[in-house]
């Protein structure tokens, strides 16, 4: 538990958005508690938080702003529900998050979190691991020498060859991934890569 006054607030882990005005929130909270102290006429020791403790140490939560995301286990929503109603799990959202990955010849789809890869190399490795087949990833790096080709559906609904655009742009627009056999790809209508014939 944190002790008051060690100035450790700055090292605290926060879940809230960066750049929140910490001081402002603390002052708002004090205003409440000061009002409460005067109206209830409590004769216990005044302390910063307004919550009196017999020991003298201030309760942990009162050292920090009242931002609800800070406190462990609060709000009291059970952890299964927290994990499963997290908005990032929605696949209709474009960009970072889970996208569906299909592979020709495999009867079921997989889902992977694009946000957990750092770049195309990482993605290559992750795809190999996902399907347990080596060589998918090679397609991303060394386009022409591989059995598979990795394509993705972008925000506009077009199917694009993965690897052309910078990584950041790719994860912003990728809605789903598909690993196709190169032999099937020729008639597919991919946007051309370049004029290299």
């Amino acid at each position: 538990m944190e002790k008051e006054g060690l100035g450790l607030e700055i090292t605290e882990l926060r879940l809230g958005l960066p750049g929140r005005d910490v001081a402002e929130k603390m002052m708002k909270k004090r205003a409440f508690t000061e009002m409460n102290m005067t109206s209830s006429g409590s004769n216990s020791d005044q302390c910063e938080s307004g919550v009196v403790s017999s020991g003298g140490d201030v309760e942990k939560v009162n050292d920090s702003p009242a931002a609800k995301s800070q406190v462990v286990g609060w709000p009291p929503v059970c952890s299964y529900r927290r994990k499963n109603s997290c908005k990032e799990a929605s696949t209709t959202k474009v960009g970072l998050g889970y996208v569906k990955v299909s592979m020709d010849g495999v009867p079921y789809l997989r889902k992977m979190d694009l946000g957990s890869s750092q770049g195309y190399d990482d993605l290559a490795f992750a795809l190999d691991k996902l399907f347990g087949i080596r060589g998918i990833g090679v397609a991303l790096k060394d386009g022409d020498n591989c059995e598979y080709v990795t394509i993705y559906e972008d925000k506009d609904g077009d199917w694009m060859l993965a690897g052309d655009v910078p990584w950041g742009m790719f994860i912003e627009s990728c809605k789903r991934l598909r690993i196709m056999k190169r032999s099937d790809a020729s008639g597919f209508g991919l946007q051309p890569r370049g004029v290299d014939e």
């Binding site: 879940l15 409460n36 020991g55 609060w74 929503v77 299964y80 499963n84 109603s85």
Partner: protein, 577 residues
């Protein structure tokens, strides 16, 4: 009664069903105790460490159904570290060794392993029903054992468990001869499902009444499944994201229209709202609707659906419904008994404009006279609203209010919410469960101690001023069984005032309060029938030193009554005094 032969008395006892009543009759005299023991079929154990399997089996050798609960409630909110305990394996091993004819096992907040499931599946020839709620530690391999070996399986109900999905073929493991399924719920499985195997299973289960699918079961499969099982009473829809083509939609509608017995709907884990109209025809029959995981059903789609559910008794919903939506519920669902409104924005990252307030709560209380259970997460509350709610609904049995921001006062008067909650406990004479929140002083606990005579479970967070608060509760609420407190300034004086009291309760939890190690030691000293557990995850090293600081505050205290002494399976960071 003493002039009747034992068989007659036993026959009479068959009509006594509730656990409380059976416990009472066993106390009447020795002969009744004996008859009751041997005729007892169902046993409920609220804390798996209060007793051990050997003593259970010794007393009830003919038991067929066992319910066990493991971790304390606050484990749901990540306040209890992993590996704390609650292992089911020793129970299954003991039951198997003693050849108990187990048919039904219901577990909540326990650690279940594939090994235990395998042993379970092989040890009890008549095993029929497995219900796991908020458990963890197993994979789909364990489910495969159950499917393979339990020849007479009727029920496999997995609710909100953490299951490692190995994407195996567990559904395929049900033999073709298995036709006895009544209830199958695998909504919490995260992986892909063998839909073909599922369809075959459903087609050969004419008694199937309850089917809850996971995310991986798509729309067209849903239509086929419902066509095979028009007798369904309870359905959990998996997902269907893409808007269906007219043909698929028509097939779904046809299938749903035939399900005239459907009374309960849940799931909709990923849904294109345009698919909802397929369900309109059966809405008028629904008594239970759980849309608390359906984040994508909002606004008008949601309202339209609810307006058709005139017979609803139970509704679980997200706060995105808004106060306006709750007004619609109040106008439509006159039979409503239970309402749960969950927060859609759990991490506090967005300023949730659509969240519910006291307005929605008052509307529901005014419109739904049969309401007796409520769980309500909201961003603000007022005393006036709570007083109105108390007046409108004096029949509450369960009242759980969670104001999202700790210490938040009445947002109009800036006062504490003592008077509001006081009105609730005073009006609702049958109240058994209460959770309080918002800015609260010792006064609210004075009210609770004074009026909440039937209260069995109380959850307190960020409330109170002094030890008096906790003392009012302990002195007043004679029927209290479970008391859980976090982040409140109650200390040793309250803890130690009446140590004998704790043997009349199932358990007490106190975390981030003011109790010290010294206080806990004193408590444990004269209480052989209490286990006093101190959980200090980060203090591992500290405790090995010779000088202990008795003034050191205890991070988490969990104490419970037990007849079997200290448990042997606690991890190193749990210290049992």
């Amino acid at each position: 009664m003493n002039y009747f032969p034992d068989e007659v008395i036993e026959h009479v006892f068959d009509f006594v069903v509730s656990h409380k009543d059976r416990n009472s009759i066993s106390l009447v005299c020795k002969s009744w105790h004996k008859i009751e023991r041997f005729s007892r079929k169902e046993v409920f154990i609220g804390n798996c460490y209060a007793i051990n399997p050997e003593r259970l089996i010794g007393r009830f050798p003919c038991l067929k159904s066992l319910t066990l609960k493991g971790k304390p409630h606050f484990a749901d909110f990540n306040l209890v570290p992993h590996e704390w305990g609650g292992f089911v394996l020793p129970w299954i091993e003991a039951l198997a060794r003693s050849r108990v004819g187990l048919e039904e096992l219901r577990l909540k907040r326990m650690v279940v392993t594939d090994e235990s499931l395998e042993l379970l599946s092989r040890s009890f020839a008549n095993f029929k029903s497995l219900v796991l709620v908020s458990c963890e530690g197993f994979t789909t391999d364990g489910l495969a054992s159950i499917a393979t070996n339990c020849r007479h399986l009727r029920e496999l109900d997995l609710q909100e468990n953490e299951i490692d999905d190995h994407r195996g073929q567990w559904l395929n493991c049900f033999p073709d001869s298995c036709t006895t399924l009544i209830s199958l719920n695998f909504a919490c499985l995260k992986g892909e499902t063998n839909v073909a195997a599922l369809e075959r299973l459903v087609a050969r289960s004419p008694n199937l009444k309850s089917l809850k699918l996971n995310r991986a079961v798509p729309l067209d499969a849903l239509a086929r499944l419902m066509s095979c099982a028009p007798q369904l009473v309870d359905l959990g829809v998996g997902s269907y994201e893409n808007e269906p083509d007219p043909e698929s939609f028509a097939k779904l509608m046809t299938a749903i229209e035939k399900c005239i017995s459907l009374r309960s709907l849940s799931g909709f884990l990923e849904v294109a709202p345009l698919c909802l109209p397929a369900f309109y025809p059966i809405c008028q029959n629904l008594i239970s609707l759980n849309l608390s995981y359906a984040a994508e059903i909002q606004g008008n789609h949601l309202i339209k659906l609810i307006q058709l559910c005139k017979r609803l008794q139970r509704l679980w919903i997200l706060d995105s419904i808004g106060d306006k939506g709750l007004v619609v519920v109040a106008d439509t669902c006159k039979e409503l008994q239970e309402l749960r409104v969950f927060p859609s924005d759990v991490h506090g990252e967005e300023d949730n404009i659509a969240a519910v307030t006291e307005v929605g709560l008052v509307a529901i209380s005014a419109g739904c006279p049969k309401l007796h259970s409520i769980l309500y997460f909201c961003k603000q509350m007022t005393n006036a609203a709570l007083i109105a709610v108390a007046k409108n609904c004096p029949n509450f049995i369960r009242f759980r209010l969670c104001i999202l921001e700790p210490h938040k006062p009445d947002h109009i008067t800036s006062q504490s919410l003592d008077e509001g909650f006081g009105a609730i406990v005073q009006a609702c004479k049958g109240l058994r469960r209460l959770s309080v929140s918002g800015l609260l002083t010792d006064q609210v606990f004075l009210y609770i101690g004074m009026y909440a005579e039937q209260l069995e479970m109380l959850s307190i967070a960020f409330a109170g001023d002094t030890d008096k608060g906790m003392l009012y509760v302990l002195n007043g609420c004679k029927k209290m069984r479970k008391l859980e407190i976090r982040d409140s300034p109650f200390g040793n004086a309250a803890l130690l005032a009446d140590v004998g009291r704790y043997e009349t309760m199932r358990s007490l939890w106190m975390s981030s309060c003011e109790v010290t190690l010294g206080g806990c030691k004193r408590l444990a000293q004269n209480s052989p029938r209490l286990n006093v557990e101190i959980i200090n995850e980060n203090e591992n090293n500290r405790m090995e030193q010779n000088e202990e600081d008795e003034g050191e505050k205890v991070d988490k205290l969990y104490l419970y009554r037990t007849v079997v002494g200290t448990r042997k399976d606690a991890p190193p960071y749990v210290r049992i005094l």
